[in-house]
Amino acid sequence: MKIPLSWLKEFVDINIPAEELAHRLTMAGLEVGEVITIGGWENCYVGYVEKVERHPNADRLNLCTVSTGNGTQRVVCGAPNVAEGQKIAFARVGATLIDVHTGKSATLKAAKIRGVVSEGMVCSEKELGLGEDHDGILVLPEDAPLGMPLTDYMGDQVLDLEPTPNRSDWLSVLGVAYEVAALTGTKVHEPEVFYPEEGNPISSQARVFIRNPDLCPRYTASIIKGIAIGPSPRWLQERLQRSDVRPINNVVDVTNYVMLEYGQPLHAFDYETLLRSNIMVRRAYTGEVMETLDGVTRVLNSSHLVIADDRDARALGGVVGGIDSEITDKTTDVLLESASFDPTNNRQTAQAFHLRTEATIRFEKGLRPGLPAVALRRATQLIQQVAGGTVAKGIIDAYPGKKGDTSLLLTSERIKKVLGVEFPMDRPREVLTSLGFDCREEGPSALRVTAPYWRSDIAIEDDLVEEVARIIGYEAIPTTMLSTPIPANEPQTLRNFREEVRDLLVMEGLQEVISYSAVSLDMLKRARTADDDSSLLKVANPMSGDYQYMRPTLRASLLRTLASNLSHQADSVSLFEIGRVYLKREKDLPSEPETAAGLFYGPRSSEGWLGSGDRYDFYDAKGVVEALLRQVGVAGGFQPSDDPFFHPGKAASILANGSLVGILGEVHPLVQESFEIDGGSVVFFELNLEKVFEAVPQERRALKPLARYPSSIRDISILVDSSIPAARIQSVIENQPLVERVLLFDAYEGKGVPSGKSSLAYRLYFQAADRTLSSEEVNKSLAKVIGLLEREVGASLRGGEEVQG
């Protein structure tokens, strides 16, 4: 919303600079995006064309004698419309104007044009930066004062306002004027509305029937006959243009002008097109058809409110007019409408037809029914003023939805409760009165307040509290710390656990990433995670196809992250993400389990002169998962998995307390290929943190006493079938009572080992809590372990027993 300061000044005295005003409005809630200056022309004056002669050396150029009050100048002018007796904008040598060829500012110099010296310039709109018109010079009104600096005559400042959606009145000069008055201590003077009503009584010329008062509580109308349609006078066009409204013709321009002034949209019908002069405000019939002003034929139904004559819909009430009753060059009689419409219905209709007009952005905010009659009279006055004609006697005022004004009680107690500061009630009273509210005292500490007819945003007492606070200024309210009791602590266990996991993964050397929560079906297909979208949570209006489904896994997100980083030469990559996945549920919100996932790719240590060249493999991911589970106190188990995302021989389900909590493995080579990741394998893990958390022992972690006696160490090397999982061998060994810890320190298949067999070397730590074990005890226990291994997993001892100190 742009409002020229000159227009605002008609409504309210402004005694501070525009920038200061802009600041105060902004602080009070009406943000001023910019103060646009029009003018600032130096060495430019209102001039008078005394004489126009032919240029002696050029057919299409004229020599003009221009007076600026004190002396005359001779200038060369090529404009076809220059004529003797015109008031014009005259630029003397030294003026800064827009160069129409370059579009940039340039200083005007004296120049010889075809042998004749030109001592200045008669300016076009474009040269003054006022518009695009360069077909001719700008002709000023006859009453423009000769010799007045042009900036004084037609310069202006325009406030570019960004009103909040609750304030329909900030879409009007009137509303902003009251704001200015309250903030600067001045008074608003609304324009005096008076015009002669010399026509026949309006009741004999038209009747209005409101069938649906719920959708149209008030409908006012006036009739002006015998008008002359034409362009609006310059002042009117200029104001509309400065408010970004395109001038059309004098009648339509007035409706727009008054809408900008009062915030009330109006509509002008060509009176003669209305059948039998009856106005029916009714719901449309299903299938009823109307062509709107934009040339589109609309098929209506009963949810749409129309303004109709005896037969046809003539306008979509409060949204857009119909083309058949449009004001044209031939229109002589006008029926002017100013009405109230239901905001919800208005908004629904506008959205249904994608018609967001200047009218609907006002009506949808719920204009007060006090506005239409005021605006109607103002517009009638202006139409008569700029288009002539005779105004019918009286106005039509159908007001079936009339209600009394509602008032609100404002107490000093409430002000103190909300703002934390007490005022004597004369301060709120002063503020509210300056904003146009009606205030009556009710005892020493309360006011009975009625909002003015242009304010539609005041519904409760706290709305008045805000009015008081914002006008006195938020900085006038004290700053205190909370003194109310702190609520009892509620443990946030899952959240804390998730953050602990985040810490652990960073400690383990992984880089955290955060990716978009939505993915495409194609990505999930490539990750072999979904074949179709039946199980996915779909976004109805996604940003793009890339983000159409809420992700059910972090797999696709992380592979894509890796691929994009590989495209700019990342070498060693180990990263993780903790985020939610979204699992669809029937008729309910999805579950959103917190999920941790990570991947490894490339050389284990970044390539360098010390780098070993080893690449990350399955056991890196496993090590990270194991360390994580160990640290949170969960005993994890691992079993081969056939999840199609992974390499068929290198994938494991992660179990805790017997239930599945995650998965890890080398990514399937074809999945990797589909993400365009080459040059080595990717290892990936994913954990459902809510499931892991369920497995975390809830009892407090108790300290295990430190060993007081030394342990004894024995190494054994065994030969087993390669099909025996290491976990089984491990558990056989660990189950021996004196074995405190066991470590697989070598595993070998190949030369020297029979095919189908693995050679495994274990280091066993024997320990007792209450004594130093004797060599005999240790050897006995070891022999038992070997016996068990032979019986239970078919192991054979390889190369005898090796014993260390």
Partner: protein, 367 residues
Amino acid sequence: MKSEGFRQPFIAQGLYMTSPDLAQTIQEVRDKALEELQGLASEEELESWRILYLGRRGRLTSVLRSLGSLSQEERRVVGAQANQVKALLEESLAQAEGQVKESRIAGLAQEEQIDVTRPGRSVALGRFHPLTQILREICDAFVAMGFQIVEGPEVEWDHYNFELLNIPRDHPARDMWNTLWIDYRDEKGEQPMLLRTHTSPMQARTMERMKPPVRVIVPGKCYRYEATDATHEWHFYQVEGLAVDDGITFADLKGTLYEFARRIFGADRRVRFRCDYFPFVEPGVDMSIDCFACKGQGCRICQETGWIEILGAGMVHPKVLEGVGYDPSVYTGFAFGLGPERIAMLKYGIEDIRLFYSNDLRFLRQF
């Protein structure tokens, strides 16, 4: 070692020496030993020297052994002399050994010198995403003021995201939040499921669950149907705050948020509160801090205004309180919402919000 003693017959002669002779011998052994020690340069030579003089059958040891043949008086005098010499020789040996070791290790400078300017063995350092860091910083600031952290669903009902926040269907204020809807229709044919457009639905959810006093902050992801550019993302985080009780005022709102700004942006920060509109608060507030880059003088970061908007806030609207069954004539409170991306961008000089979710390691590794 055992055989060496046999090759030193003259010590045996000493067994029959008298006290003056013995004293004389000790002097000679001493002088000889010290003289020989002068020329020794290796640890092996020093060891031979030690065995020769101080070993179990060494010269000085043998002399000491022969003390037994002297009278008690002589033994005392000569014994003391001999022990003195022993200590002297031991000390000299230690000194010589020290010198030899020093010079041997000094020699390593040649043989074993490494190039200390080569890069060290690389350590893969884990790092938190910058948003995790800023979210933790923000949460810590409020936790220190008695707020508790709660979280809620990202896929929400219209009811919580809008209705209970005083934003009914077909209210023009809905235009403030361009919504991403979930493709789901209920029995009435309506589309009530959405991606939350702010963390504010947790205001209602929290108040439904708790009785006052309430003092929570809600970090989490939010979504809006918004074209992305350097300052807009459709996918972003928000931190919501809510404090409700009997006796919480606008002045408390100002104090709490001022303290927050000081904790995050520095103790010398100034703040500015201006009126703004959000349907679920009344009065509504927009808080700015003075620009930390130019100290309020006006620069590119603050768009020449000297101020940077960092959050929206206000007193909880009585309708919101009523909606969750709180009596608005008894309870008041304030709520606020802030964007951690924006705060991170300001703090770290990040100029494009899209960097946060592009996961470019060249970006992430800088934090």
